[in-house]
């Protein structure tokens, strides 16, 4: 265990003293503060002289303001944090010939990769917690509402989901740093995967859904069964993207008014009426039930990814160093 801790400590020191950490932290802190202050001021305007709606505090994170919400920003930018922190974890040591020195020390070989992964996860966790606290502080100051217990719990779950999501991308980039010798190749490969999952999967999902269950845009309400099938194919295909998993999970957990992660298709005026009659926020536990499959999937892909990376690293010949 001491080997893991030594590697962990060194890697953590490296992260905190590195320029890249400063840059990403400054970037997300800046964007977070700008979004939160814009949203905070809008909320202040809108709710002046009114009773504040319940769970207004969470709106700081979910409200889109003029551009996008903080949650959307992390959904989009989070993978880059993971990739930037991990893309050269192993192959940098190969290039500088320190890896052969490390493996000839009396530590288990997996201490190296475990220590590095844990240090990355810790860095991400500290970054996210710091940002959420900054935004909360700003929110309390601007909106003048202190978060309730339920809101704090929802934020904690949001943080855990974000940590898993970014760690998944850290795992992907460490995996490529084990597979590829050159740091630029591993960075580009990670970016390619990120672009593929973030943009092409949702694009492909639309194409696939149109192919399997064509729905005519002009002729709305033609065949309800077909529309249902279309939605189903779209949903299943796009859930292959970690980005969709994450944004569905976090938007549901932070917005109690959202009662499902699926798209709602309202067939007629009566249905609309019946929906509008039940506009109460969901209790925390119910929101949690809705997103449980998403969270479990995020945990599974993160562990799967790190597992593959671990297995490859343990089998690599030292001679190739």
């Amino acid at each position: 265990m001491s080997g893991i801790f030594t590697v962990f400590r060194k890697e953590l020191e490296d992260y905190f003293s590195s320029t890249r950490f400063l840059i990403i932290f400054a970037l997300i802190a800046m964007v977070g503060v700008i979004i939160a202050s814009m949203v905070g001021m809008t909320l202040q305007e809108e709710t002046r002289g009114m009773t504040k709606p319940t769970l207004i505090f969470l709106m700081l994170f979910t409200s889109t303001g003029k551009l996008f919400s903080f949650v959307q920003f992390i959904g989009f930018f989070g993978p880059l944090i993971g990739i930037i922190l991990g893309f050269d974890a192993i192959n940098r040591e190969r290039v500088s010939r320190t890896l052969s020195k490390l493996v000839s020390q009396p530590i288990f070989r997996d201490s190296i990769i475990n220590g590095k992964f844990l240090a990355g996860v810790t860095t991400i966790a500290m970054m996210l917690v710091a940002i959420v606290l900054i935004i909360s502080g700003l929110g309390i100051w601007l909106v003048g509402v202190v978060p309730g217990v339920e809101e704090i719990w929802r934020l904690v779950i949001y943080l855990i989901a974000s940590l898993l999501y970014v760690s998944f991308w850290l795992g992907i980039s460490i995996l490529f740093s084990v597979v590829f010798r050159s740091t630029s190749t591993s960075a580009l490969a990670s970016l390619a995967i990120w672009i593929f999952f973030s943009f092409f999967v949702s694009l492909g999902a639309g194409v696939l859904a149109d192919a399997i269950a064509p729905v005519n845009q002009q002729n709305v309400g033609a065949d309800p069964a077909m529309i249902m099938k279309h939605e189903e194919v779209l949903r299943v295909t796009s859930s292959f993207s970690p980005m969709t998993l994450y944004s569905d999970a976090t938007s549901t957990i932070l917005n109690p008014m959202q009662k499902t992660t699926r798209g709602l298709i309202l067939m007629g005026p009566m249905e609309r009426l019946s929906i509008s009659r039940f506009q109460n926020p969901l209790p925390l536990l119910q929101s949690l039930f809705i997103v449980a499959p998403h969270l479990i999937s995020l945990i599974a892909i993160t562990f799967l990814c790190f597992g593959i990376c671990y297995a490859i690293f343990m089998r690599q010949e030292v001679r190739t160093v």
Binding site: T6, V7, E93, K101, S104, P106, V318, R319
Partner: protein, 250 residues
């Protein structure tokens, strides 16, 4: 020089898909010896060292280092054995002290113990004045000496040096060889070092082994090998003549 055997290899073989890197190597090294491991580039010297350290598993054959099987007990072996790889690398953004301290921590040496030891070692390898310089600014010779300091911080019984003088200027080479000799004489450390530079091996080794194309073709003190192979008993023989003779036969 009778002592305990510190390395015992028997019929040690390593086969890679493309070639046989080490072919039935049998070798014994006693504690306290300076053993020079000679051979041209690509003869299988590094592969042999990696098998001794448990970093590569042998295809067949047996090996015991410090009485342990490195493939089974790599951690125990690495605790007692230091290894300086060819062209060793460092964390360039850290200074010399921090680099050595990281290795000390990986060896579970508490900081209170290691800090004094690191000072002594850096003095011994002549780097105490540059101890707080970033290693990125070090010359090749300084890096190689820092590598020795890192290897010694765990106080090993046996050290493996892979081409320790490669790329050094004559002055750097002399300092390195003096260091090797003093480690052997003052600290009674066993030193196993590989090289393809004959005159250097000749200057410091008690015994040599000559490896060509994966096979260990000769072992023994240089004088004996010379007598046996060249049939000469002259004072001034060169290892080079001997080496070329073996090389042509192989």
């Amino acid at each position: 020089m009778e002592g305990q055997l510190i390395i015992e290899a028997e019929e040690l073989t390593k086969v890679y898909p493309s070639q046989t890197a080490v072919d039935r190597l049998t070798l014994k090294v006693q504690e306290g010896e300076v053993f020079g491991f000679l051979g041209p580039n690509g003869a299988g010297k590094t592969t042999t060292l990696l098998m001794f350290l448990g970093l590569t598993e042998p295809t067949s054959g047996k090996v015991r280092v410090c009485g342990l099987d490195p493939a089974r007990d790599p951690i125990q072996v690495k605790r007692q054995v230091g290894y300086l790889p060819e062209n060793v690398g460092f964390y360039d953004e850290m200074d010399a002290r921090q680099n050595v301290q990281y290795v000390a921590r990986l060896n579970r040496i508490p900081d209170e113990v290691s800090s004094k030891r690191i000072d002594e070692l850096l003095k011994a390898v002549g780097l105490h004045e540059e101890a707080h310089k970033k290693v990125g600014a070090y010359s090749k010779g300084m890096r190689q000496r820092l590598g020795i300091a890192e290897v010694l911080v765990k106080e090993p019984r046996l050290i493996f040096l892979d081409e320790p003088t490669i790329g050094l200027d004559p002055d750097g080479t002399n300092r390195m060889l003096d260091l090797i000799r003093s480690l052997s004489q003052e600290q009674k450390m066993t030193i196993f070092f590989s090289s393809h530079l004959l005159d250097q091996v000749q200057r410091v080794s008690d015994r040599v082994g000559i490896m060509i194309k994966g096979k260990l073709v000769a072992t023994g003190p240089i004088q004996e090998l010379a007598k046996e192979k060249l049939g000469v008993d002259k004072e001034r023989y060169t290892l080079e003549e001997l080496y070329m003779k073996y090389f042509k036969e192989a």
